[in-house]
Subunit: 363 residues, 3 copies
């Protein structure tokens, strides 16, 4: 059973909790949230993208969340047939931003269908006596909280987490099972951190020492920490390294997907969102309100302005001072075509020279 199925919800409950203007019957029963084209007679759905407007007429949804411009069309839906044929078209919630309303609906729904358990310190957890735990802190089974760590009010520390010496977790922050927060690192309030995240491993720093009798890389101990703001979300198995001298910093509202690498001394501006498998190399500073596509990479020691958007799988190799969308991906094609074009690419510079020569001949 998926959590989107919840018992006994009526539109009146939703409107009371989330607002919006209701057209239709407040006692309409809702048991499911789904897209317009998968909706049944107990489903609430939404129209966020005008591109899907045509689905409005066809949907069987009991209620549709729409912007004012679509209120009339939504209210008339189903009049000509469908499962609800003959009846009136079902309920409508009118709101300025249906997608935002939908997001809040999922939050309300999750709170109802997956209530958090009562906070407790599980007896199997290993909590150092010098750790400071706020009011209503929940500590899961087999978690480890080391000396002088601080856990803010209402924070929830999942099973198998390690909060190392002197680390600080802000109020209301939730760590899923198996999150590691290194010594001295800090997370703000209301953060969400998913399983497998490693905050505060050593940055990758070595001095070459290849002229000595025992040649090799000499470790540069990473003496900085990681500082993470409020309302940050960090996806599963993502890594955020501690700084070499200064700290690695994520500002408020940053959202990171899974399997992302944030190297030492990176700074990420507020509300920047980074998709899965991206990597930001050391000391790079990314602005606020940026988006970085999946598997994109930014090399080290760069500065990206605010509102820069990097396409998936693109390598950013120079600083970017202007907002905008940036891309650099080899376009895929069937393998035989790719082989021919890619082989030719190795001659591209000489092709240009040959073209120039021809142009000279032709003038």
């Amino acid at each position: 059973m998926s959590a989107q199925v919840a018992p006994e919800v009526h539109l009146a409950d939703l409107i009371a909790a989330l607002g919006g203007d209701l057209i239709g019957e407040a006692q309409t029963r809702i048991s499911r949230i789904a897209p317009l084209d998968e909706a049944d007679g107990q489903t609430i759905s939404f129209l966020a993208n005008p591109r899907y407007q045509a689905q409005l007429a066809q949907t069987n949804a009991a209620c549709v969340i729409v912007a004012p411009a679509f209120a009339e069309a939504a209210a008339k839906r189903g009049e000509k047939g469908g499962e609800k044929g003959g009846e009136r078209g079902g309920a409508v919630i009118v709101t300025p931003d249906p997608y935002l309303y939908f997001a809040r609906l999922t939050q309300w729904w999750a709170a109802r269908s997956r209530p958090l358990g009562a906070a407790r310190i599980h007896p199997s957890a290993v909590v150092d006596p010098s750790a400071r735990l706020g009011a209503g802190v929940d500590v899961g089974p087999l978690a480890v909280i080391e000396a002088e760590a601080e856990i803010g009010d209402g924070a929830r520390i999942g099973a198998h987490c390690v909060i190392a010496q002197g680390a600080r977790i802000g109020a209301g922050t939730r760590l899923a099972a198996r999150v590691t927060v290194g010594f001295g690192c800090e997370l703000g309030q209301r953060c969400i951190v998913h399983s497998g995240v490693v905050i505060g491993a050593d940055g990758f720093g070595f001095a070459p020492n290849f002229k000595s009798e025992q040649p090799g890389w000499e470790k540069i101990e990473q003496l900085g920490n990681v500082r993470i703001g409020n309302d940050v979300e960090i996806g599963a198995n993502t890594c955020i390294d501690r700084g070499a001298l200064a700290d690695t910093v994520l500002e408020d509202g940053v959202k990171l997907d899974n399997l992302i690498q944030i190297a030492h001394n990176v700074q990420i501006g507020r509300h920047t969102a980074i998709a899965g498998c991206a990597a930001i190399a050391g000391s790079t500073k990314i602005g606020a309100f940026c988006t970085i596509g999946g598997a994109a990479n930014v090399v080290g020691h760069l500065v990206l302005a605010d509102h820069v958007h990097v396409s998936a799988a693109t390598l950013i190799s120079r600083s970017i001072s202007q907002p905008g969308q940036y891309s650099g991906v080899y376009p895929f094609e069937d393998n035989a075509s790719w082989e021919k074009n890619a082989a030719t690419l190795r001659q591209l510079h000489s092709l240009r020279t040959r073209l120039r020569d021809l142009e000279k001949k032709n003038t």
Copy 2:
């Protein structure tokens, strides 16, 4: 000592267990599995790829697994010398598909050289009384099994695993140490899941809310689950996110390597195999019998047909309706050449225009 070394195996044992036609002495002793060119007089080897046929004559293997077409050549090997010079050429197992035979041999070998311990619930595990454990279930040290989780007969849950509330693990499925299965998620029978895997973390879903007084991303709670079929294998540190509304689905026989990202609502058809560090973005549907190369990426909301093969490091940015091999990788070269060609690539469109102009002049 590697596990491929096992005591007292005779060819008769192999034939009894795995079949095949034996040419040679059934009491030949085998202590090792190795490629033809690394074989010694107690080694069993195989010829799967005709390209390596020449190694047949040179190998010192005590036994060689071959297809019928190579039976004669295999039986005659070593007649002209080598360690076994003068003797007859050693034993041969003839079978229609030597590589498949080799695979089964490794399974038989592993079962002999690494027998599983007797199933037990380790006393340090934290198992909720409402969890339902089948017959012969093994639970490792410090594992956590939450309320109403179900573990099928003979399943093995490694040390430090977390099976969250209401999750279901099918019969005979084996979780290595430190696997996290989120609440409500399901795995089928006979699956193998390696360490560090995170199943059921939240998908990366947010509604933009940047016009409000407190601008930021509004979380879309992920209300779906993850459903995984039978005989699925999942490599170390791979992440499979729960769906936003519907579920994320892996069908029977899917094989995932390490460090792969499977985003919310992805569907992967049966027997599709995906190599390490690949990423599949949200809501994409991949067909059956596909292969996705290492570090390849598929963007969101696409549909890939059955039998599509994506080359390593390729970004798939559009749906693919035809079976075949698809590629899109910048061909590497020495750095100086790359710099020239890559710089020219930024002028490619204008080069085409100039070429057109020249063509007009020349007609």
Copy 3:
């Protein structure tokens, strides 16, 4: 408080521990390490790259580490003003390789500011009686050490680590919290392994079996181990798979960053360094003293010579026999330009043909 802040250090202490020629007052108090442009009057800084030479004159650092060529300029700094205006320019440590000196300074500093706790076997750890632990071994809370594992003298096993049956950890090696070392795998001495690392998961090996009545991939059990030399460092959430028949091998001094995939039977030569999110596919052999850039990929069954350097995000698809720098990345640009150039790239081979035709007309 970051660890780079430490109480009561005087230059005399540094010189005694690390050597170097001091110009200036040995009792100068140091409380911080920082770059030249962030230094204050209690900071020690360094000039490693002549490019930053201009910062020497401006820095407020109490002491600067420089090469002999810059000793005079460093000693004269600040004479014309700045915070220390009027006074003499502050202390200087002269040493042949300032960056190497800085690396050792961070080590000395870390040892002072973050002393390791006394070694103990935490009572919550699950240690099999047949495991062999050397002198001064530290085992953190809730770690699991299985039968016949060997832990060398002075090694430190972090919280939640799993050292599986028969694995061996060399003397002085340190495992951060939550590291998994599979059965039979070996690490040498003085290694550092960060959280979330998985050593010894199964390599990704399957024989196709699609003609049978139950089509699917047949698992090839991975019978090899992982062998890791001395002085190897492995970053967070990196995966190193066990070999199929022979072992996967990392030689002495290899340095791996975070989220790296090392597939089965890979061999990596001594002192090779690999940056984050890179992936090395199965059976590839990488030489000594190589560097592999972040998110770079090397396909399987290749051989890379010693001293090969691969640029970030490059796919290496053929063996490389010559030392040098190799690259293959689509250069990023603004999205509109990229769209035009990438579309044209699909016609590149035909453009070449058209160019040839024109050339023929013009001869």
